[in-house]
Amino acid sequence: MKKSAFVLLVSFTLWSCTSDGPSGPDADDFDREAILINWADHIIIPSFTSFAESSAQLQSDAFTFAESPTLQNLETLRNSWQSAYLAFQHVSMFEMGKAMGLRFRDNLNIYPTDTGEINENIQEGNYNLELPSQSNSQGFPALDYLLNGLGENDTEILAFYTTSDNSDAYHTYLADLTSRIHSLSNEVLTDWTSGYRDEFVSNSGNGANSSLDMMVNDYIYYYEKHLRAGKIGIPAGVFSGSPLSSHVEALYSKGFSKALFNEALDASQNFFNGTHFESDGSGESLGSYLDFLNTMKEGADLATLIDNQFDAAREKAELLNDDFSAQVESDNSLMLSTYDELQRNVVNLKVDMLQALNINVDYVDADGD
């Protein structure tokens, strides 16, 4: 009995060895560390480098404007604010390591910004931007208010920096906000280049604390909460019943919210496809990993499905006004249909991709039943 049971077991095992069909991953092992290396060296670090550069420019232009608040310098400052804000869209999703410890995204981009708090800070002058309670009175949305929202037109805005009683306080606040963005971006970049990169890449195992699992979780969280909901869903009233036109990103610049959204959408898609930052090259990515796992969906594979869905969302968003706030007020249905396209990819990423990659959203014992 003992012998025959063993023979039975072995023969079944052997039989199943020879009977595997063409499905399933091919024999070559997929190098998951290559994904991490590609992300770190060709996407994350270049994106943070670019952001640190543009935030340095932003700071220096803010100092120039504070010294001589002319219309021309205001325009220059607005331009560097726009470039830095666009560059930020490429790093916002990487809220891990140092960025997580610094609450990077919260300090840089909570909107709508708290104009009451900003005015109070400027009047009283005793503020500590490192306090969590000050998150919504700094970063890009606060700069948006200071550069575009103080008055109805440029003359009115410039008056705050030139002729008003506390114009110095305005200069100081502007300088403080831009310095903080610059120092935060430098801190994160330095951390990546001085050790965290190697830690990130070498943590290539499986499990909830591996780099791959954490990154994928962060990425999906960003896509769902900040791209889909923050930029489109919340202003369109998806979660509140009635539209909230004042909740768009870059509210005061009137006409910049769409550019930011498109940049963030590109960044998300590039990250998925492993496309290198500001170059046509590409490397291992979630897309190629999915191809390896060969998760076939209705003839087309999941990686293509997700990639195409990014395109579909971009196509829908082309119809939108450059100023989302105006779009919400004139024809919100276009915002809602953009939201629907973004929503489709939440299902693809969160259900199908997570299942294929076998990544859990949280760590608790579970046996799949």
Binding site: A27, G237, S240, T295, V351, D365, D367, G368, D369
Partner: protein
């Protein structure tokens, strides 16, 4: 079990699972069982202490009843944490209430001469063997389905992601290995209870038990279960081995084992107690044998509808991922909006909720109550939900046209789910 309780507490799971969440998912018929806030910790403490007392055999009867009640209470608090292993512990401890496990080598027997006995009735050992038999054999039967055997699902999803395990990592990338694991697992489950029962194959069987469970421990996050099953399987060995283990423990603890060796056969204090125990155990097994087959009363695909899935030893059979987006409509003014699940549920609860219909319904009712308090008189609640099962493409799960607030809780077939449109052959 003591270790299990300590592990639970040490991992911070008491707070995470039972104190932090705002809402809990109840079992049908057990809605009155709720976590007690900060007092939940006391239940865990009681459970841990009673487990300790049971293992020392001190005040056995009361301890095992307290253990059964407290452990089961913990399990009934929130069904998001349902695991077959926990159910196994509940069932086993219920069974043990009626068995004289304290007659030998226990503090009770040491203190009470009339209780002390070297031999206990054979049926009481057989009862535990039979329970283990059911667990393994039914788990094996459940594996005889087309997804498991012919698609190697869900192993084909789970195994490749364990690439960093030493030695096995590369092997787990091979399709043939997934099939081998699937077939070996099914054969193991079906054969092992027999191999353990037959004396000649017992030692080989036990080696297989150890290999199998250690392997599952390495590959899957299933906590204490492998160890429990390995130790449980020792029950199949005859008294010779158990005596040797006890002698070893006795030497270590300096207890005189021979003190208990009085050669007496255990007899129940009253004949009616024995009769009652035997009949309850018999009834218990009738139920245990039938309950796992209750899914046959429902139409539709079991893995999809999950009608009759729990409490049936269906272990590690499916990988389900889902997403549920709830829409609240106020019929009075036509206003509609979506719900942010993270405001109500933990990430773990949300994951469980999104793939299981009874959770979806209960959550919809929780939302109904919440929005009624927020001033919507008669909210309608719809859900946009998608589920992917065993590597198939995700598809719509709940009928999006159905107002879930109009659906009552029941054990009847759920007509508000959309069909699976595929077939998984098997039991």
């Amino acid at each position: 079990m003591v270790i299990s309780m300590v592990r639970f507490a040490a991992n911070g799971w008491i707070e995470k699972l039972y104190v932090e969440p705002d809402f809990f998912f109840s079992y049908y018929g057990f809605e009155w069982i709720q976590p007690l806030g900060e007092w939940t910790r006391v239940i865990f403490l009681i459970c841990g202490i009673s487990a300790l007392l049971v293992s020392f055999g001190f005040k056995y009867r009361i301890s095992i009843i307290v253990f059964f009640l407290s452990f089961t209470y913990i399990e009934l608090m929130d069904k998001s944490t349902y695991l077959n292993h926990y159910y196994f512990i509940s069932v086993l401890s219920f069974l043990m209430i009626f068995l004289p496990a304290h007659a030998y080598y226990s503090i009770d027997a040491w203190k009470n001469k009339t209780l002390r006995a070297q031999q206990i009735p054979k049926w009481s050992i057989d009862a535990i063997k039979f329970l283990l038999f059911i667990v393994y054999f039914y788990a094996g039967l459940a594996k005889l389905n087309s997804d498991w055997l012919f698609e190697a699902m869900p192993l084909q999803i789970w195994l490749p992601s364990k690439y960093s395990i030493p030695l096995l990592g590369d092997l787990l990338q091979q399709a043939w290995a997934h099939y081998a694991f699937a077939w070996a697992g099914a054969i193991y489950d079906l054969a092992i209870p027999f191999l353990l029962l037959i004396k000649r194959t017992r030692i080989v069987a036990f080696i297989l038990v150890v290999i199998f469970h250690v392997l599952t421990r390495v590959l899957f996050p299933i906590g204490m279960f492998p160890y429990i099953m390995i130790v449980s399987a020792l029950i199949f060995f005859d008294s010779g081995l158990h005596n040797r283990i006890l002698e070893y423990i006795s030497k270590w603890l300096k207890i005189s084992k021979s003190f208990f060796d009085n050669g007496i056969n255990y007899s129940f204090p009253q004949p009616w107690i024995q009769k009652a125990s035997v009949s309850i155990v018999a009834l218990f097994f009738m139920i245990q044998l039938l309950v796992p087959f209750r899914h046959m009363l429902y139409p539709g695909e079991l893995f999809w509808t999950e009608e009759g899935y729990r409490f049936s030893w269906r272990v590690m059979l499916m990988e389900k991922a889902g997403y549920a987006h709830f829409k609240v409509v106020d019929p009075e003014n036509g206003q509609r909006f979506y719900v942010d699940n993270t405001l109500f549920l933990t990430r773990f609860q949300e994951k469980q909720m999104s793939t299981q219909p009874d959770f979806i319904l209960e959550y919809a009712h929780i939302l109904e109550g919440y929005y009624q308090q927020q001033g919507i008189k008669d909210p309608e609640i719809y859900v946009d939900s998608y589920v992917a099962l065993n590597g198939r493409q995700s598809r719509r799960y709940v009928n999006p046209e159905v107002d879930l607030t109009k659906i009552r809780f029941s054990l009847k077939h759920r007509t508000w789910l959309l069909p699976f449109d595929d077939e998984i052959k098997g039991l």
